[in-house]
């Protein structure tokens, strides 16, 4: 799994690629904590290059969404396809993220 964060004014784009799973998700947690601590007003999670996700990875993204929403911030997920899209649909997250 690789990820990078890019800030453009109020908007932060978090791009995650590869496999976001139980092994790799802990690497992402500090970045999520930082986004929450900085109270970024708008976050776009770009999963265009995400190959696989498991329940641990979903948990991290849902955690980001819930924590930012509590701060009044906006979180959107873009680029879902294939296996990650199937997981998001199964868990009914498509209604939250409009994927």
């Amino acid at each position: 799994m690789n990820f990078n964060r890019e800030d453009n004014g109020d908007v932060t784009v978090l791009r995650i690629s590869g496999s976001l799973d139980a092994l790799s998700t802990p690497e992402l947690r500090p970045t999520i904590d930082a986004l929450v601590a900085e109270k970024r007003p708008s976050i776009t999670v770009d999963l265009s290059d995400l190959r696989l996700i498991d329940s641990s990875g979903v948990g991290a993204i849902v955690s980001l969404y819930k924590r930012m929403r509590a701060l009044g911030a906006k979180v959107e997920v873009v680029g879902l396809k294939d296996q990650p899209l199937a997981i998001f649909r199964l868990l009914r997250l498509d209604r939250i993220f409009s994927v």
């Binding site: 092994l23 696989l52 498991d54 641990s56 979903v58 849902v62 296996q83 199937a86 199964l90 868990l91």
Partner: protein, 184 residues
């Protein structure tokens, strides 16, 4: 240290009528480090399901493969995270039975057991951040069985015919059931 090896053998006494293929055996240490390797093996095995013509042809149902891989990944997580929690890590054995009409995957561990029926169905409306693994397994696979013991064996089957699927309905509220050893 445990060794990683893959062998392939023809079906013997355990052969079922709907299977006309082989069993792929994989044994890895029960840690998340070997998750990706195991997932890739199962993903490759999915492409062998069906008749020889179907399994090597250009038309593959990638959605079907994705569901099997998703379910297996969760099962491996549970074995690696929960089965050997609090004890010396052991191996996880994986048997993939490739057939013409289905795939059956058995995940075998020698650690802690749990009660499959005691694991609560998640409340998806509450946006849970955990406790989703077995829901994913049950939703994407057609048959899921668990035999506790030494070893523990989680067996899950997915048919090529999607009509057999039974998706568990999420509950309307959060259950306070402990779910055995906290397995997800």
């Amino acid at each position: 240290m445990s060794a990683v090896y893959i062998t392939k053998s023809q079906l013997g006494e355990r052969s079922q009528p709907r299977y006309d293929g082989s069993v792929i055996h994989l044994r890895v240490p029960g840690t998340l480090r070997y998750r990706d390797l195991a997932v890739r093996v199962v993903g490759a095995a999915c492409k062998l399901v069906g008749t020889p013509e179907e399994s090597t042809g250009p038309i593959r149902n990638t959605a079907w493969d994705n569901e099997v891989v998703s379910a297996f990944g969760e099962a491996f997580n549970n074995a690696a995270i929960h089965s050997y929690d609090g004890r010396k890590p052991g191996d996880v054995e994986i048997e993939v039975e490739v057939g013409i009409t289905a795939i059956t995957i058995r995940i075998i561990d020698y650690g802690n057991s749990f009660a499959l029926d005691d694991v609560p169905v998640p409340d998806l409306e509450a946006l849970p951040e955990s406790g989703l693994g077995l829901y994913i397994i049950r939703s994407f696979m057609d048959e899921v069985k668990y035999a506790a013991g030494t070893p523990n064996v989680l067996s899950m089957t997915k048919y090529v015919d999607p009509g057999r699927r039974q998706v568990p309905e999420p509950v309307d509220r959060i259950s306070d059931s402990s779910g055995g050893d906290g397995r997800q």
